[in-house]
Amino acid sequence: MKRALYLLSVLLLASFVVAGCGKKDEKKAEASKAGITIGSLGPLTGQYAADGNDIKNGVLAAIEVMNPEMGAQGPVNLQAEDDACDPRQAVAAANKLINEKATAVIGAYCSSATIPASEPLIAAKIFMITPASTNEKVTERGMPYMFRTCGRDDDQSKAAVKFMTDQLKSKTIYIVDDKTTYSQGLADNIEKLAASSGLKVLGHEHVNQGDKDYSAVLTKVKAAKPDVFYVSLQNSASAAPMLIQIGRMGIKSKILAQDAVYHPQLIELAKKDAEGVFLTFGYTDKTTPAYQKFADAYKKYGEPGAYSAYAYDSTIAYLKAVKAAGSTDPEKVKAEMMKLDFDGASKHMKYRENGDSGSNYVIQVIKDGKFTNYWNPENGELFK
């Protein structure tokens, strides 16, 4: 007991020393690390590590592009933090970023990490720009420094349902999701909208995250023979085995998925079973100079993932605002953020009052091993 107490007090003392050193280091760092610190937050380990790394790489690419332009305000440093998509770790990482004097945080990936992490960040007047959390609640809590570069679930479901009724002329659908804030939220929206647009919902099944065997559910789908099979899964790694098993099972329905399954590895993994799969995705014109600039900067990290371009644009937007404001003062930067109006890599960047940047979902199809723009819900026409 006594030795334990002794050890405890030593440990506590040690933690004081460490904390003290940390403070000293910080001061030193502040002196040497002039410029701007941007944090990135996302799952670098765990199930969604691939997406978290895409975000981090997007931010890195943007910093590289912007650094020469920042002049005396630069250089821009990145502090990448891991939240493992766990709310507790996300809040710890957010507090760490506050300590590190980050002025903006690009992230997080999972809506369930973004929402709790935003509380301390926004309270500390740090910008939080999510490139990936599409849940409506992210921006609908009236937080002044919360921005979103990707689209929203409700917009995406509208585009999907419009495609099914207008273009595919389908009568019946079958829905499956894997029960995450994002994938289920979207699937529920689809179910509601479908019912009101005259589509018959034959079934709505849920699978668990991390499952790879979907044979039981797919057998049901096969028996129901829907016109469209709507697949809402959290990422490409779970979608690939689903597509393979759909192919193996011989399901003839058209398959429609959403933006989270967008990733080059989907085609690499599912190979020919990915052919002909439709998905809703934010429209990106890959021929614009802005996209080319992004693609060049990103080259060394491999193929861009679903959220790489959004993370890139979020970072660019913030840095442009800082440059225009001439300082990192939150009020001034916020005013500049609202004035932004430029062509980003992923889309035209213009933030609205609530922090959203609008959605521009189109339908893509996987054709000859490539994601190809297919149909535009705005005018109901096929892309050429």
Binding site: T45, G46, Q47, A49, A50, N53, K179, E205, H206, V207, N208, G210, D211, K212, D213, S215, A216, V217, T219, K220, K222, A223, S236, A237, A240, P241, I244, Q245, R248, M249, G250, Q265, E268, L269, A270, K271, K272
Partner: protein
């Protein structure tokens, strides 16, 4: 009725994989009463070895079935070596300590190996190359793919081989003796350290085979693929009666079936709940599993 038979086919395939992984748990448990948490990671390592070796052999232009066979054997050997190293490093020094300490050491090694795989192989899924095994045939409207047949065939083959090894050879006899009583078997000249090593190696080889099968079946592998099947297989081993080899096979099959039929007929989101409820119910009425356990009565 077709629906039923289709689900039956699905269940047998899934159950076969669980059975192969469950055997590793049950054999290790039978001999040193340890829940080897790192077993799921060995399964994942097997899957990765499969991808790595098949990609390489495939690129050299060997025919698919040769690639598969050679990769299967090499991956089984690799995982056997990995498991033996694990045992020497993390479990052997703790042979005299409390069983919970070994359990935690196993948990630590599980995290370590999983992240080791992530660091060496990357966070993205790795695909099996080319079109390894394609297609299938239909009986009525029941779809049976060739891959499912390969999985069941390999599983049955390995199970028969294991049974022969355990019940017909000298090594098997020594393993059974060590499981019954380490001190006594030591007295009659059995090197228990070596037997424990061999047990780990065999369990790991089976897990490696399961890893490759699963990788081929789902088309890809990933560093954390061992976690969920690990827990399921562990449940299967307990359901059958932990330490009991026949029990583990049966348990694997039952868990696979419950999962598929619960998802097919009741609700796919609650399928794991049904699996666990049946497990708990069975243990409530048969506290030592379906086949009964095969070890003496020493517990935490």
């Amino acid at each position: 009725m077709d629906f039923f038979f289709q689900q039956l086919v699905n269940g047998i395939t899934l159950g076969g994989v669980y059975a192969l992984v469950a055997l590793g748990y049950t054999m290790v448990y039978g001999i040193i009463q340890l829940i080897n948490f790192a077993h799921g990671e060995i399964f994942a390592a097997g899957g990765y070895m499969g991808v790595i070796l098949i990609s390489w052999l495939f690129a050299q232009g060997y025919p698919p079935f040769l690639c598969l066979g050679v990769a299967l054997l090499l991956a089984m050997g690799y995982c056997a070596l990995l498991a033996m190293a694990l045992e020497k490093l993390a479990y052997k020094p703790l042979r005299q300590s409390s069983r919970l300490s070994v359990l935690l050491s196993a948990l630590g090694m599980s995290i370590f190996l999983q992240n080791g795989l992530m660091l060496t192989q990357g966070v993205y899924d790795r695909a099996y190359p080319g079109e390894m095994v394609q297609g299938g045939f239909e009986v009525g409207t029941v779809m049976i793919s060739y891959m499912q047949i390969i999985i069941v065939a390999v599983t049955v083959l390995l199970l028969v081989a294991l049974n022969l090894l355990v019940f017909k050879t000298r090594i098997g006899k020594a393993m059974r003796a060590t499981a019954q009583d380490k001190t006594m078997s030591g007295l009659v000249g059995i090197n228990s350290g070596r037997i424990i090593s061999i047990t780990f190696a065999i369990g790991a080889a089976l897990a490696a085979a399961a890893g490759i099968m699963v990788g081929l079946y789902y088309g890809s592998v990933r560093y954390d693929m061992g976690f969920v099947p690990g827990i399921k297989a562990f449940s299967a081993a307990v359901l059958g009666g932990i330490g009991n080899i026949t029990g583990a096979m049966l348990g694997g099959l039952i868990i696979g079936m419950i999962e598929v039929f619960a998802a097919g007929y009741i609700s796919s989101e609650y399928k794991d709940v049904f699996a666990f409820i049946i497990l708990i119910a069975v243990l409530y009425f048969m506290p030592t599993g379906i086949m009964g356990e095969n070890v003496d009565d020493t517990r935490v």
